[in-house]
Subunit: 225 residues, 4 copies
Amino acid sequence: MAQPETETPTIPPQRLIALADGVFAIVMTLLVFQLTVPVAAETDRLGSALAEMWPEFLIYVLSFLVLGLFWLIHHLIFDPVERYDTTLIWLNILYLMLASLVPFSTGLFIEHGAVTVTALIYGANMAAVFATAWAIFAYATTGYRLASRDLDSEVRRGATRMGFVYMAVILVAMAISLVSPVAAYVLYGLFVVIVIIFTMVGRADVVMILPGSARDPGPDLSHDV
Amino acid sequence: MAQPETETPTIPPQRLIALADGVFAIVMTLLVFQLTVPVAAETDRLGSALAEMWPEFLIYVLSFLVLGLFWLIHHLIFDPVERYDTTLIWLNILYLMLASLVPFSTGLFIEHGAVTVTALIYGANMAAVFATAWAIFAYATTGYRLASRDLDSEVRRGATRMGFVYMAVILVAMAISLVSPVAAYVLYGLFVVIVIIFTMVGRADVVMILPGSARDPGPDLSHDV
Amino acid sequence: MAQPETETPTIPPQRLIALADGVFAIVMTLLVFQLTVPVAAETDRLGSALAEMWPEFLIYVLSFLVLGLFWLIHHLIFDPVERYDTTLIWLNILYLMLASLVPFSTGLFIEHGAVTVTALIYGANMAAVFATAWAIFAYATTGYRLASRDLDSEVRRGATRMGFVYMAVILVAMAISLVSPVAAYVLYGLFVVIVIIFTMVGRADVVMILPGSARDPGPDLSHDV
Amino acid sequence: MAQPETETPTIPPQRLIALADGVFAIVMTLLVFQLTVPVAAETDRLGSALAEMWPEFLIYVLSFLVLGLFWLIHHLIFDPVERYDTTLIWLNILYLMLASLVPFSTGLFIEHGAVTVTALIYGANMAAVFATAWAIFAYATTGYRLASRDLDSEVRRGATRMGFVYMAVILVAMAISLVSPVAAYVLYGLFVVIVIIFTMVGRADVVMILPGSARDPGPDLSHDV
């Protein structure tokens, strides 16, 4: 992975992004097929049959938001990327492979509920995606291998630090699942909701990097079409 | 959600749109899997077995047109959007999450027919999407937060008014479903057909906003490639 | 559908195309799920179990090529389109809805084999798509409503004539299915193979229109990137 | 397939690529549905039930990487393509049809394990895709029919040679499957891992062509956005 590798890239960036956007659109949409429609025999008590499905609806919403977060992180870490090589392509495919497992992890919960094994796998799935995101960011930005020189080194350090925080939270929740799987799922949910709220109140730095505020500190940062 | 938030955006608009177009393409296509092929045992009376499926085919067409309408609305409300922030990203993901539930709502009807619970859920699904569309439009255009200053305030008021009309129709149909679920579904269908006809005879203002007629009142409004 | 309608369009053409490309990519890919993997009980005679599936593999290939043809036609009829209105949007959604039914029509054959009902539905599905293609082309090009003035009127007439030929072939095959459903499927297959061969030997005029040869009769017609 | 054929193309290249990116995103994502969630009856021994699924997880990873390789090859062979004709369109659709069969080949292994028939079909699927890739590359570059004149003839010969090596490896593995199906799958896996490692250490020439190093031999080869 020495310098000359950057000579092999030949795939325009749009296609990497297009593949990722396509995979995320599909994984998000397919989640709904983990929700099983109650069978016809239950028509006379359909309301309560659906009400009993509340854990399924909750995990559906959680997994959809988790995938939304994976998509947001994917775009934030690819934002400073200016050049591409084959290593990045395979890291990208690894990221998509791990994200594609979310319907399986979700299906485990729906079939078996909040038990230690399902909580561990759900957490491991998230942790693996975050670790891959961190690897992509580190690979692309170390020595500005593939990233723009506009990327502030302070931002780099902040993003790396944030990656560790994410991993720590997930690992703590996984440890808790050994005692209380329900508490682990609650923690996963709280984690995602808190990240979403932070990003919405203008603290995008919680999602690993904050290219906007670092590169354009002025008031005219908003993107025009 | 004060002014400085607009400093965080870093995701180019194309990707938000690409994710939405991908999700809509997939949800529309997956609808067909709610149609169950009659089993081989029925081959000798396959014609009548298919004829008995007419409610399934009707709801398939209705749900496909509903998704077409959701797609049209998504594009109309994003038309005046010029800048992006993280709040808009999460509102967009919410919009897609609710639209992705349509195969589930459709599956409930196919399995249980027109009963109050299925009609209420089908209507609630539509109402939730319309409410999110209204929230996206309000968030983006209030004080021209993310929208072009070309957007006429009259158009803004018209779109908001139209959003209320949509919600009112759906809520009335949901109320009717308590008495006659069949009548509720008929109303959902009439509503969609009427909106389509209005948009086709040049009254796009029925679908929440009418950016074309407001911004380009002249006769040369047609888009050139 | 008078002149002023062209004032309402506000959706950029790329999104109509993106939705169509997405739907076709998904329908093509989902076809494979109509192929049922023989169950584990048959492992000792897996080879012959798969060999007995030859009609399933044949219809898979046929339906994939039919969808490829629908995709090719979609792009050819949208090639001269320069402007968009809401009517075109809904015609496009109708086209996609009918194309999305191909997995259902294919599943009917796989479950029930070549009987009159399945052959009639398979043919009706194709005929409905061709009719919608013809309607889109006629709507867009009549009086150059939405099409480029570069479109030769000779091409327009040729395309319309070709649409009638397509419809006639399918209707004849459907009539034949009343006597011999197998012969109808053979005719569908021959039709698709012949169209593909004609387009490959440079006679793209068999697929409804021939914009290339009509608009650029010189030898430098090839598209550069 | 004489010279004048290049006069028929009218479909812009982006749409061919968009269709391919869409199909690959979907096939990759749908693979996860070949992984069956253990049923609720096994909740008390869920950990060991999942551990027993290790062959399913291994083939999932292998098939995902195989599809990643197909995607990479698709983009490498389309990289020098500058012009399009209908023959290329149908070759592209054939490529996508064969790649779409991977979930079926994967499902055969999951249901029946490593037996000669499943190993032969898995290998035949890969070989058919490689053969189509070779046909696309040969068709597009022979006499610079559709390819850029920048394409070095040395690169052309190297890519053709590489295509033969790929085919030879797969055919040897298929022959080995007659004696030991497990060894054949091990060979498929080793082959994919070795190709990935070679591409990552800067030897992209193992994946059929090396347009980058051939066309831009200088040190500034990296693609800027």
